[in-house]
């Protein structure tokens, strides 16, 4: 198997493990009734480690798995939101953002806030009015606590993803970008 194929398999395995953890352990970790969303963290970290293309693909896969486990929202809603989040993070990482130890948690927090807002907004549009029933203050509370969770979880998860994505096409592009920047400096 080629190096790229192996990288793909490793990334896919990470997504499945994250899903299993979300359905078993993660839902018990709650601060003020709010649990982390590990699959959202996975979509963000995939974009960070492998760029936009990997962000889109992993986000869609992770979202679809999450949808199959949820029972109240329609299948496809999380997939839609997570692939857009993965794309957004990946594009930012490829084009704008420099590297730095603070980048991962900070971007994860911002992207989680955006992801939660997008999920509620798109859900409301397709008729899931229960998502907005708790009012603005309730939504902000969930978004903030979930963002904090993501900031913490993103550090180990993105480390795992950068290991797993080694050798993939996306990681190679990011690496090239890194060399360019260092040579300019």
């Amino acid at each position: 198997m080629t190096e790229r194929g192996k990288a793909r398999l490793r990334v896919a395995a990470l997504v499945v493990v994250a899903f299993l953890l979300q359905a078993t352990v993660v839902s018990d970790l709650r601060i003020d009734e709010v649990a982390p969303d590990l699959l959202l963290v996975v979509a963000i970290c995939a974009g960070l480690a492998g760029g936009a293309r990997q962000g889109v693909l992993v986000g869609f896969m992770a979202g679809l798995l999450a949808d199959l486990y949820l029972t109240e929202t329609p299948v496809g809603l999380s997939a839609l939101v997570l692939c857009i989040v993965g794309y957004g993070v990946g594009t930012l990482r490829e084009n704008v953002l420099p590297e730095g130890w603070l980048l991962t948690p900070a971007l994860a927090m911002v992207a989680t806030g955006g992801g939660v807002a997008l999920f509620v907004a798109v859900g409301d549009i397709v008729g899931q009015t229960q998502l907005v029933a708790m009012g603005r203050s309730g939504l902000v509370r969930i978004a903030v606590i979930e963002a904090v969770w993501s900031g913490v979880l993103a550090v180990p998860v993105s480390w795992l993803f950068s290991k797993a994505a080694q050798g993939s096409a996306g990681a190679a592009t990011l690496d090239r970008g890194r060399q360019d920047r260092t040579s300019i400096r």
Binding site: Q22, R30, T71, V75, G76, G138
Partner: protein, 289 residues
């Protein structure tokens, strides 16, 4: 040029996947509970259930520790009480006591005072819901155990209280089922208020008390409820629940000017964040018990 083409391809991929997702949302919304997607959902839930059973029991202490850290004050008092209790238990075999306690809790769940003659089944909570936008629990019993969507779920309260309504069965799979909690915004239950009035209580989200609206004023006097008063299900015809299940206590009453009916909120009797064993009432509005 190569980079440009690459980012263009990624954008196409994004558009295609977004369209696929929208198609799935539409298909799932239209099939509403039947069809391939719900069968897939059912398989995913049944497939996960052994793993959830194993991990939830083993890892619950960690989750309890974290949620405990965020409610330190109330735990301090309870800690004091438990210390005294433990001092009394040291003499006895603690392990046997724990097993006995578990058995007692299941027995208590089967003999809740408000169950009456309705047959019931005890189940263990194996997952507390993986999304912050869906107030559901997963329990370890399913259609194979005779559960049907819509059946009421109740639980014993904290030590010394009778307990009350937890929610209703939402989706029932073969080996597991999800319980829609009464705090979920989709949840509505008819309740009996004072002086022959009835109303509905509806959830507005996890951690928030239920909103009560008065429906019929069967007598000329609007309901006068005091803070702390207990409210039970009304069990009127076509109601989803049998009468007499305690739902909660009145948390606040406010009368707005120009309105006859007070605005009330209802605090659930059961602590939803600490649920372990629940009781499903094998009851449906069509067939009764």
């Amino acid at each position: 040029m190569a980079v440009y083409r690459r980012s263009n391809r990624t954008r196409t991929l994004l558009v295609v996947l977004v369209l696929v997702a929208i198609t799935l949302v539409t298909v799932d919304a239209r099939s509403s509970g039947s069809g391939l997607l719900s069968r897939l959902r059912s398989d995913v839930h049944d497939g996960l259930s052994p793993l959830q059973r194993a991990t939830h029991h083993a890892l619950q202490p960690i989750g309890d520790f974290i949620s405990g850290a965020t409610s330190y004050g109330s735990l301090k008092a309870e800690n004091q009480r438990l210390r005294q209790e433990i001092a009394g238990m040291v003499a006895t075999n603690v392990n046997a006591a724990a097993a006995q306690q578990e058995a007692d809790r299941i027995m208590a769940a089967a003999h809740l005072p408000f169950l009456g003659q309705i047959p019931n089944l005890q189940a263990r909570v194996i997952d507390r819901g993986s999304s912050n936008f869906q107030n559901t629990f997963t329990i370890d019993k399913g259609s194979a155990d005779g559960l049907v969507t819509g059946q009421p779920v109740v639980a014993a309260g904290a030590a010394g209280t009778t307990g009350g309504l937890v929610g209703a069965l939402g989706s029932v799979f073969r080996r597991t089922a999800t319980v829609d909690l009464l705090t979920d915004p989709n949840f509505v239950v008819g309740v009996a208020l004072s002086q022959g009035n009835t109303g509905t209580a509806e959830g507005i989200g996890a951690g928030s008390p239920l909103r009560v609206s008065v429906i019929s004023t069967s007598v000329a006097t609007p309901p006068k409820m005091a803070k702390g008063e207990a409210v039970s299900t009304s069990g009127l015809q076509l109601e989803m629940f049998p009468p007499g299940i305690p739902v909660g206590t009145i948390a606040s009453v406010a009368t707005t000017q120009g309105s006859q009916e007070p605005t009330m909120t209802l605090q659930p009797l059961v602590d939803l964040s600490q649920l372990d064993i629940v009781t499903v009432e094998l009851w449906s509005p069509q067939t009764g018990p």
